[in-house]
């Protein structure tokens, strides 16, 4: 439309640019710091323009923190969470929407409630479970007297143990345990027109066939959206890996590693803080999720909006 608002337009650009600058400032400074030497980074006032040590610092930080293994680990974990969450969400939502059975609403609510409590709020007991993932079953068996029964009958002492600490499974499973993806899928499945299902049934397709041949191809955009969000979520996990992994050398993740790089008494032994290395490491660690968000922008935004409604 025809609208002449020169002053407002200028103000708009000023506001948006200021916002952009405010947002960029911390990262810009981190970037600058990552390109400085140890001396430069510790002298005040701080440099505002990058120098040339970026590659050197990156290499040093990489080796110092053994990022090679950790990047691989993080990649494995993040990808597994993505795959696991999507698969689980898909089949669970499918069962909830397309099958009729008693207790459907109950199961729906049980899954729904898991949205209310993110991991951070239940870390202590979840950790205990991770230490022995089969402990719930053990306790139940003990409580119901089953263990005693089996013991008396066959002389076998049932002692279930499955230690998930310091393992990929321990990192992946608890992250897959909430219902975010299930809701995205459920909402999507609810929009499938009745006629489509009925036509498939007329064509003789059973439920699994219908899922595989019709629903999954239709949900490609959903998959992309969910994958993007889940990847960022899994890659950026901090608290849980911090607790579950003590064997950093083999199973450490990159984001957790950052906390080790904080220049303080422990890392520098009282020497000059190694901010340039910390910042270089931070940049490298931030890169993959940012790349994913930027490249998959459209799906990502769509996924965010749909999961949280």
């Amino acid at each position: 439309m025809i609208e002449r608002t020169p002053f407002l337009n200028i103000a708009t650009h000023v506001i948006l640019l200021s916002g952009l600058i405010i947002i960029i400032v911390p990262i810009w400074l981190a970037f600058v710091a990552a390109t400085l030497t140890l001396q430069q980074v510790n002298s005040a006032p701080i440099e505002l323009w990058p120098s040339d040590q970026l590659w050197v610092n990156l290499q040093e930080a990489w080796l110092l923190s053994d990022f090679g293994t950790k990047f691989l680990n993080t990649l494995i974990v993040a990808t597994s969470v993505v795959v696991g969450k999507i698969t689980l969400a898909c089949i669970t939502a499918f069962a909830l929407v397309f099958f009729n059975f008693r207790g459907r609403m109950l199961i729906f609510w049980m899954i729904f409630i898991t949205l209310m409590l993110p991991l951070e709020v239940r870390i202590v007991p979840t950790y205990a479970v991770a230490a022995n993932a089969l402990s719930p079953f053990q306790t139940i068996m003990d409580a119901t007297g089953l263990t005693w029964l089996i013991n008396t009958v066959s002389g076998i002492e049932v002692s279930l143990e499955w230690n998930l600490l310091n393992s990929y499974t321990g990192l992946i499973l608890p992250l897959v345990a909430t219902a975010t993806g299930t809701f995205l899928y459920r909402q999507f499945f609810l929009t499938i027109p009745d006629e489509l299902v009925e036509a498939a049934r007329m064509d003789g397709a059973g439920p699994l066939r219908f899922l595989w041949d019709v629903l999954i191809p239709l949900s490609k955009t959903n998959i992309a959206a969910l994958a993007t969000i889940m990847f960022v979520y899994a890659w950026n996990q901090y608290l849980w890996p911090l607790l579950v992994i003590t064997d950093r050398a083999n199973y450490g993740l990159v984001v957790v590693q950052l906390s080790d790089l904080i220049p303080d008494q422990q890392t520098t032994g009282g020497g000059t803080p190694t901010w340039h290395l910390a910042m270089a490491a931070t940049l490298v660690v931030m890169l993959p999720p940012i790349a994913v968000v930027v490249l998959m922008q459209r799906w990502f935004v769509r996924g965010l909006i749909n999961t949280d409604k």
Binding site: M1, I2, E3, R4
Partner: protein, 369 residues
Amino acid sequence: MAKISIRDVRKSYGKDQVVHGVNLEIANGEFIVVLGPSGCGKSTLLRMIAGLETITAGQISIADIVVNDLEPRERGCAMVFQNYALYPHMTVAENIGYALKVARVPKAERMERVAKVGASVGLTEFMDRRPGQLSGGQRQRVAMARAIIREPRVFLFDEPLSNLDAKLRVQMRHEIRRIHNRISATSVFVTHDQQEGMTLADRLVVMNKGVIEQVGTPSEIYDHPASVYVGGFIGSPAMNFLSGQVDRGTSSVKLANGDRVEIATSIATRHHGKLVQIGIRPEGMTMVPAGQGTLNATFEFVEELGAGRLYSLLFEDLTIAVLANDRQTLAPGTPVGLHIPATSVHLFDADTGKRIEAAPLAALQMVPA
């Protein structure tokens, strides 16, 4: 009231030109209907008058002032949108009074005018409701009230009746015309419904693919369509078309199968040998016993209209529709004759689709090719 001048207006979106050189003069207080199918450019034209679209080339003037660069608020136009565009979070009264609020009209005066206009469209009991609580017809009236209260020079309507059911549509048509007469604004009404156009318009503007095909009063356009397109678009049931060649000797158009349809001698003489399309309206033919008419066709089926009947006849792979008032029963396949008087024949050039007359008629307003 204001007159509107549209001179050589074009509109492009990037490389895509959607309106090609439109010229139109709208007189003070006229009710103009712009008629055409989806995508013909009529809404774009309307929005260019309103200021909601920029004008790529050409000029639009309202009351002799060029408005190309003026913002909508400076043009003195009010618009009724297709889906009403009522503010969902405001009450009916607030919706109607919004323009006055923006113009900083004092509250007392504003409320008085809102009450008056609300009453004039029959919405007094609904003033405190929100749009979500109203029916389609009521929302329409709010949209109209919102436009009326501004006492605009020009009223613009963008297919406002398309979302209403048939009965309501007829009712609202009369409402709109009544309001137009009462307020004596200049109105430009866009629609794809040809019947709506025919009933509402002082003058009708038929558009197709970004150009104006014809401008005229409804009866002019009905009786003398300027092209095949206009002939086929206006009038329901639609005009029948046959292809042939003009023959001076027999003062007729010779069809592909040899049949001849009689036309005026003067036209036959002037345009001898030309390839043409002839158009005949369903009510312009009569059914006669086979062999006695201009053509022979076979009966296929009949639609009972109540006030008459629409016969579908098969002629050389074409379906011809004939309107008749009889009550005869025919079996499918019965041969029937068609009598086509020369006065019912509209002649169009086969290449350009434009109307062929014996001599230029000064009374007609045809758009130059």
